[in-house]
Amino acid sequence: MSEESRVQTIDFSAAGIRRGFIEGTPIALGVGGYGIVFGVLASQAGLTTTEAVLMSATVLAGAAQLIAIELWAPSMPVFAIVVTVFVVNLRYLLMGAALRPWFRQLSPLQRYGSAFFVADENWALTMGKLTSGSRRGAYLLGSGFAIWLFWILATVVGAIAGGRIGVPAQYGLDFVLAGVFIAIAYGLWDGRSSVAPWSSALVTALVTAQVVPGRWYILLGGVAGGFVEAFRFGD
Protein backbone atom coordinates (compact mmCIF):
# COMPACT_ATOMS: atom_id res chain seq x y z
CA MET A 1 0.00 0.00 0.00
CA SER A 2 2.88 2.39 0.73
CA GLU A 3 3.89 1.82 -2.88
CA GLU A 4 0.50 2.97 -4.10
CA SER A 5 0.30 6.01 -1.86
CA ARG A 6 3.32 7.48 -3.62
CA VAL A 7 1.55 7.41 -6.98
CA GLN A 8 0.68 10.82 -8.46
CA THR A 9 -2.97 11.85 -8.64
CA ILE A 10 -4.47 11.65 -12.11
CA ASP A 11 -7.40 13.37 -13.78
CA PHE A 12 -9.75 12.23 -16.51
CA SER A 13 -10.15 15.04 -19.01
CA ALA A 14 -11.02 15.69 -22.64
CA ALA A 15 -7.50 17.06 -23.04
CA GLY A 16 -6.13 13.70 -21.87
CA ILE A 17 -8.30 11.83 -24.37
CA ARG A 18 -7.19 14.16 -27.16
CA ARG A 19 -3.49 13.82 -26.31
CA GLY A 20 -3.82 10.03 -26.16
CA PHE A 21 -5.61 9.97 -29.48
CA ILE A 22 -2.99 12.12 -31.22
CA GLU A 23 -0.01 10.25 -29.81
CA GLY A 24 -1.72 6.90 -30.30
CA THR A 25 -2.46 7.47 -33.98
CA PRO A 26 1.02 6.51 -35.31
CA ILE A 27 0.90 3.16 -33.50
CA ALA A 28 -2.73 2.73 -34.54
CA LEU A 29 -1.58 2.97 -38.16
CA GLY A 30 0.90 0.18 -37.50
CA VAL A 31 -1.82 -1.94 -35.91
CA GLY A 32 -3.91 -1.25 -39.01
CA GLY A 33 -1.54 -3.45 -41.04
CA TYR A 34 -2.63 -6.43 -38.96
CA GLY A 35 -6.24 -5.27 -39.30
CA ILE A 36 -6.09 -5.49 -43.08
CA VAL A 37 -4.67 -9.00 -42.85
CA PHE A 38 -7.35 -9.92 -40.32
CA GLY A 39 -10.09 -8.60 -42.62
CA VAL A 40 -8.80 -10.57 -45.61
CA LEU A 41 -8.45 -13.79 -43.61
CA ALA A 42 -11.83 -13.37 -41.90
CA SER A 43 -13.58 -13.07 -45.26
CA GLN A 44 -11.62 -16.07 -46.58
CA ALA A 45 -12.81 -18.02 -43.54
CA GLY A 46 -16.40 -17.21 -44.48
CA LEU A 47 -17.23 -14.24 -42.27
CA THR A 48 -19.24 -11.47 -43.90
CA THR A 49 -17.88 -7.92 -43.83
CA THR A 50 -20.37 -7.02 -41.09
CA GLU A 51 -19.35 -10.01 -38.98
CA ALA A 52 -15.64 -9.24 -39.34
CA VAL A 53 -16.25 -5.61 -38.36
CA LEU A 54 -18.45 -6.67 -35.44
CA MET A 55 -15.62 -8.87 -34.19
CA SER A 56 -13.02 -6.10 -34.49
CA ALA A 57 -15.33 -3.57 -32.82
CA THR A 58 -16.34 -5.72 -29.86
CA VAL A 59 -13.31 -7.98 -29.24
CA LEU A 60 -10.42 -5.62 -30.05
CA ALA A 61 -7.61 -8.12 -29.54
CA GLY A 62 -5.45 -8.79 -32.59
CA ALA A 63 -3.78 -12.08 -31.74
CA ALA A 64 -6.98 -13.54 -30.28
CA GLN A 65 -9.02 -12.60 -33.35
CA LEU A 66 -6.48 -14.12 -35.73
CA ILE A 67 -6.41 -17.30 -33.64
CA ALA A 68 -10.23 -17.45 -33.76
CA ILE A 69 -10.03 -17.25 -37.56
CA GLU A 70 -7.44 -20.01 -37.54
CA LEU A 71 -9.90 -22.20 -35.58
CA TRP A 72 -12.94 -21.11 -37.61
CA ALA A 73 -14.51 -24.10 -39.38
CA PRO A 74 -17.92 -24.99 -40.80
CA SER A 75 -18.51 -27.17 -37.72
CA MET A 76 -17.94 -24.13 -35.45
CA PRO A 77 -15.84 -25.39 -32.54
CA VAL A 78 -17.40 -22.71 -30.31
CA PHE A 79 -15.96 -23.93 -27.03
CA ALA A 80 -12.42 -24.31 -28.39
CA ILE A 81 -12.55 -20.82 -29.92
CA VAL A 82 -13.78 -19.08 -26.77
CA VAL A 83 -11.45 -20.93 -24.39
CA THR A 84 -8.40 -20.35 -26.59
CA VAL A 85 -9.28 -16.66 -26.95
CA PHE A 86 -9.58 -16.41 -23.17
CA VAL A 87 -6.23 -18.11 -22.54
CA VAL A 88 -4.33 -16.08 -25.11
CA ASN A 89 -5.78 -12.94 -23.50
CA LEU A 90 -4.88 -13.86 -19.91
CA ARG A 91 -1.92 -11.52 -20.17
CA TYR A 92 -4.40 -8.62 -20.06
CA LEU A 93 -4.97 -9.48 -16.40
CA LEU A 94 -1.40 -8.44 -15.71
CA MET A 95 -1.68 -5.32 -17.82
CA GLY A 96 -4.83 -4.25 -15.98
CA ALA A 97 -3.18 -4.95 -12.63
CA ALA A 98 -0.25 -2.72 -13.59
CA LEU A 99 -2.67 0.16 -14.23
CA ARG A 100 -4.40 -0.26 -10.88
CA PRO A 101 -2.32 2.10 -8.71
CA TRP A 102 -3.46 5.00 -10.90
CA PHE A 103 -6.82 3.79 -12.16
CA ARG A 104 -8.20 3.10 -8.68
CA GLN A 105 -8.51 6.88 -8.42
CA LEU A 106 -10.98 6.97 -11.32
CA SER A 107 -14.72 6.32 -11.18
CA PRO A 108 -15.85 2.76 -12.02
CA LEU A 109 -17.28 3.97 -15.33
CA GLN A 110 -14.02 5.68 -16.33
CA ARG A 111 -11.97 2.72 -15.14
CA TYR A 112 -13.94 -0.12 -16.67
CA GLY A 113 -14.84 1.88 -19.77
CA SER A 114 -11.13 2.48 -20.40
CA ALA A 115 -10.42 -1.22 -19.80
CA PHE A 116 -12.25 -2.16 -22.99
CA PHE A 117 -9.75 -0.09 -25.01
CA VAL A 118 -6.66 -1.82 -23.63
CA ALA A 119 -4.45 -3.21 -26.39
CA ASP A 120 -0.78 -4.18 -26.07
CA GLU A 121 0.44 -1.09 -27.88
CA ASN A 122 -1.49 1.68 -26.10
CA TRP A 123 -1.09 -0.02 -22.73
CA ALA A 124 2.70 0.15 -23.12
CA LEU A 125 2.44 3.78 -24.24
CA THR A 126 0.19 4.69 -21.30
CA MET A 127 2.33 2.88 -18.73
CA GLY A 128 5.35 4.81 -19.99
CA LYS A 129 3.47 8.09 -19.44
CA LEU A 130 2.09 7.19 -16.02
CA THR A 131 5.35 5.89 -14.61
CA SER A 132 7.11 9.07 -15.71
CA GLY A 133 4.61 11.21 -13.80
CA SER A 134 1.84 12.07 -16.29
CA ARG A 135 -1.51 12.98 -14.72
CA ARG A 136 -3.57 12.15 -17.79
CA GLY A 137 -5.79 9.28 -16.69
CA ALA A 138 -7.75 9.45 -19.95
CA TYR A 139 -4.66 8.85 -22.08
CA LEU A 140 -5.36 5.10 -22.27
CA LEU A 141 -8.89 5.74 -23.51
CA GLY A 142 -7.73 8.27 -26.13
CA SER A 143 -4.93 6.12 -27.49
CA GLY A 144 -7.12 3.01 -27.33
CA PHE A 145 -9.86 4.81 -29.24
CA ALA A 146 -7.35 5.61 -32.01
CA ILE A 147 -6.41 1.93 -32.21
CA TRP A 148 -10.06 0.86 -32.13
CA LEU A 149 -10.91 3.24 -34.99
CA PHE A 150 -8.03 2.20 -37.26
CA TRP A 151 -8.53 -1.48 -36.38
CA ILE A 152 -12.14 -1.26 -37.59
CA LEU A 153 -11.27 0.74 -40.72
CA ALA A 154 -8.49 -1.70 -41.60
CA THR A 155 -10.87 -4.64 -41.06
CA VAL A 156 -13.36 -3.10 -43.49
CA VAL A 157 -10.65 -2.60 -46.11
CA GLY A 158 -9.31 -6.12 -45.64
CA ALA A 159 -12.73 -7.79 -45.61
CA ILE A 160 -13.80 -6.04 -48.83
CA ALA A 161 -10.49 -6.88 -50.51
CA GLY A 162 -10.71 -10.46 -49.24
CA GLY A 163 -14.21 -10.84 -50.65
CA ARG A 164 -12.89 -10.03 -54.13
CA ILE A 165 -10.12 -12.62 -54.05
CA GLY A 166 -10.97 -16.09 -55.30
CA VAL A 167 -9.42 -19.47 -54.54
CA PRO A 168 -6.97 -18.89 -51.68
CA ALA A 169 -4.24 -21.34 -52.70
CA GLN A 170 -4.00 -19.81 -56.16
CA TYR A 171 -2.66 -16.61 -54.63
CA GLY A 172 -0.72 -18.19 -51.78
CA LEU A 173 -3.30 -16.80 -49.36
CA ASP A 174 -3.43 -20.13 -47.57
CA PHE A 175 0.04 -19.26 -46.30
CA VAL A 176 -0.94 -15.81 -45.00
CA LEU A 177 -2.34 -17.01 -41.69
CA ALA A 178 0.80 -19.04 -40.95
CA GLY A 179 2.85 -16.07 -42.11
CA VAL A 180 1.13 -13.56 -39.85
CA PHE A 181 1.60 -15.88 -36.85
CA ILE A 182 5.29 -16.19 -37.70
CA ALA A 183 5.52 -12.38 -37.85
CA ILE A 184 3.77 -12.07 -34.46
CA ALA A 185 6.04 -14.76 -33.02
CA TYR A 186 9.04 -12.77 -34.21
CA GLY A 187 7.82 -9.83 -32.12
CA LEU A 188 7.12 -11.99 -29.06
CA TRP A 189 10.47 -13.80 -29.13
CA ASP A 190 12.39 -12.78 -26.04
CA GLY A 191 15.78 -14.38 -26.65
CA ARG A 192 17.10 -17.27 -24.65
CA SER A 193 14.32 -17.13 -22.03
CA SER A 194 11.79 -18.09 -24.72
CA VAL A 195 13.63 -21.27 -25.74
CA ALA A 196 12.38 -23.63 -23.00
CA PRO A 197 8.68 -22.63 -22.93
CA TRP A 198 8.40 -22.29 -26.71
CA SER A 199 10.05 -25.61 -27.47
CA SER A 200 7.89 -27.43 -24.91
CA ALA A 201 4.84 -25.80 -26.49
CA LEU A 202 6.03 -26.88 -29.93
CA VAL A 203 6.73 -30.50 -28.95
CA THR A 204 3.43 -30.79 -27.04
CA ALA A 205 1.50 -29.38 -30.00
CA LEU A 206 3.23 -31.66 -32.52
CA VAL A 207 2.59 -34.77 -30.42
CA THR A 208 -1.01 -33.99 -29.37
CA ALA A 209 -1.92 -32.99 -32.93
CA GLN A 210 -1.34 -36.65 -33.79
CA VAL A 211 -3.37 -38.15 -30.95
CA VAL A 212 -6.05 -35.65 -29.88
CA PRO A 213 -8.84 -34.99 -32.38
CA GLY A 214 -9.71 -31.43 -33.40
CA ARG A 215 -7.58 -28.37 -32.76
CA TRP A 216 -7.07 -28.77 -29.01
CA TYR A 217 -3.34 -29.22 -29.58
CA ILE A 218 -3.10 -25.43 -29.86
CA LEU A 219 -4.41 -24.84 -26.36
CA LEU A 220 -2.54 -27.85 -24.95
CA GLY A 221 0.74 -26.65 -26.44
CA GLY A 222 0.20 -23.15 -25.10
CA VAL A 223 -0.66 -24.34 -21.61
CA ALA A 224 2.35 -26.69 -21.61
CA GLY A 225 4.54 -23.69 -22.46
CA GLY A 226 3.00 -21.80 -19.54
CA PHE A 227 3.66 -24.64 -17.10
CA VAL A 228 7.25 -25.03 -18.22
CA GLU A 229 7.77 -21.29 -17.81
CA ALA A 230 6.30 -21.39 -14.29
CA PHE A 231 8.45 -24.40 -13.42
CA ARG A 232 11.58 -22.87 -14.92
CA PHE A 233 11.05 -19.46 -13.35
CA GLY A 234 13.87 -18.20 -11.20
CA ASP A 235 16.49 -20.62 -12.55
Binding site: M76, L93, A178, G179, T204
Partner: protein, 104 residues
Protein backbone atom coordinates in the same frame (compact mmCIF):
# COMPACT_ATOMS: atom_id res chain seq x y z
CA UNK B 1 -17.98 -3.40 -54.61
CA UNK B 2 -18.61 -6.74 -52.96
CA UNK B 3 -19.73 -5.95 -49.42
CA UNK B 4 -21.48 -8.73 -47.60
CA UNK B 5 -23.73 -7.27 -44.91
CA UNK B 6 -25.06 -10.63 -43.69
CA UNK B 7 -25.14 -11.58 -40.01
CA UNK B 8 -25.42 -15.23 -38.98
CA UNK B 9 -26.89 -15.56 -35.44
CA UNK B 10 -24.46 -18.36 -34.56
CA UNK B 11 -21.50 -16.27 -35.71
CA UNK B 12 -22.78 -13.24 -33.79
CA UNK B 13 -23.11 -15.44 -30.69
CA UNK B 14 -19.51 -16.64 -30.99
CA UNK B 15 -18.27 -13.09 -31.52
CA UNK B 16 -20.12 -11.87 -28.43
CA UNK B 17 -18.76 -14.78 -26.37
CA UNK B 18 -15.26 -13.88 -27.59
CA UNK B 19 -15.78 -10.24 -26.66
CA UNK B 20 -17.00 -11.17 -23.17
CA UNK B 21 -14.03 -13.51 -22.65
CA UNK B 22 -11.67 -10.74 -23.77
CA UNK B 23 -13.30 -8.01 -21.70
CA UNK B 24 -13.22 -10.27 -18.64
CA UNK B 25 -9.41 -10.39 -18.91
CA UNK B 26 -9.05 -6.67 -19.62
CA UNK B 27 -11.30 -5.53 -16.75
CA UNK B 28 -10.37 -8.48 -14.52
CA UNK B 29 -6.84 -7.24 -13.96
CA UNK B 30 -8.14 -3.91 -12.69
CA UNK B 31 -10.72 -5.53 -10.45
CA UNK B 32 -9.62 -8.98 -9.27
CA UNK B 33 -5.92 -8.33 -8.94
CA UNK B 34 -6.58 -5.61 -6.40
CA UNK B 35 -7.74 -8.37 -4.10
CA UNK B 36 -5.27 -11.20 -4.74
CA UNK B 37 -1.51 -11.31 -5.20
CA UNK B 38 0.04 -12.68 -8.36
CA UNK B 39 3.40 -14.33 -7.83
CA UNK B 40 6.20 -13.44 -10.27
CA UNK B 41 6.14 -17.11 -11.25
CA UNK B 42 2.48 -16.98 -12.34
CA UNK B 43 3.05 -13.61 -13.97
CA UNK B 44 5.87 -15.03 -16.06
CA UNK B 45 3.70 -18.01 -17.09
CA UNK B 46 0.80 -15.78 -18.17
CA UNK B 47 3.13 -13.60 -20.22
CA UNK B 48 4.49 -16.56 -22.14
CA UNK B 49 1.02 -17.85 -23.20
CA UNK B 50 0.52 -15.88 -26.44
CA UNK B 51 3.93 -16.89 -27.80
CA UNK B 52 3.45 -20.52 -26.72
CA UNK B 53 0.00 -20.67 -28.35
CA UNK B 54 1.22 -19.13 -31.58
CA UNK B 55 4.14 -21.58 -31.75
CA UNK B 56 1.61 -24.38 -31.21
CA UNK B 57 -0.40 -23.15 -34.20
CA UNK B 58 2.52 -22.65 -36.55
CA UNK B 59 4.55 -25.76 -35.63
CA UNK B 60 2.11 -28.48 -36.74
CA UNK B 61 1.10 -26.36 -39.74
CA UNK B 62 4.68 -26.14 -40.97
CA UNK B 63 5.25 -29.82 -40.16
CA UNK B 64 2.46 -30.60 -42.63
CA UNK B 65 3.99 -28.29 -45.22
CA UNK B 66 6.96 -28.76 -47.49
CA UNK B 67 10.11 -26.91 -48.62
CA UNK B 68 8.03 -24.08 -50.16
CA UNK B 69 6.30 -23.31 -46.85
CA UNK B 70 9.48 -23.77 -44.80
CA UNK B 71 11.43 -21.37 -47.00
CA UNK B 72 8.58 -18.86 -46.93
CA UNK B 73 8.52 -19.04 -43.13
CA UNK B 74 12.23 -18.22 -43.08
CA UNK B 75 11.66 -15.35 -45.51
CA UNK B 76 8.93 -13.88 -43.24
CA UNK B 77 11.34 -13.97 -40.28
CA UNK B 78 14.14 -12.34 -42.27
CA UNK B 79 11.79 -9.68 -43.67
CA UNK B 80 10.49 -8.92 -40.17
CA UNK B 81 14.04 -8.50 -38.98
CA UNK B 82 14.82 -6.09 -41.79
CA UNK B 83 11.61 -4.09 -42.07
CA UNK B 84 9.59 -4.78 -38.87
CA UNK B 85 6.60 -4.38 -41.18
CA UNK B 86 4.05 -7.17 -41.18
CA UNK B 87 2.60 -6.39 -44.61
CA UNK B 88 6.02 -6.35 -46.28
CA UNK B 89 6.98 -9.57 -44.49
CA UNK B 90 3.75 -11.29 -45.55
CA UNK B 91 4.08 -10.20 -49.18
CA UNK B 92 7.64 -11.54 -49.24
CA UNK B 93 6.47 -14.81 -47.68
CA UNK B 94 3.55 -15.25 -50.06
CA UNK B 95 5.77 -14.44 -53.06
CA UNK B 96 8.22 -17.10 -51.87
CA UNK B 97 5.50 -19.71 -51.47
CA UNK B 98 4.08 -19.01 -54.93
CA UNK B 99 7.47 -19.01 -56.60
CA UNK B 100 8.64 -22.24 -54.98
CA UNK B 101 5.32 -24.02 -55.51
CA UNK B 102 5.61 -23.18 -59.20
CA UNK B 103 9.22 -24.34 -59.38
CA UNK B 104 9.25 -27.43 -57.16
Amino acid sequence: MVIDFGLDPVVVGIILAMSLATYATKAGGLWLLGHIDVSPRLESALKILPGAIIVSIVGPELANGGPAEWSAAAVVLIAMRWTENVLVALLAGVATVLLLRALL
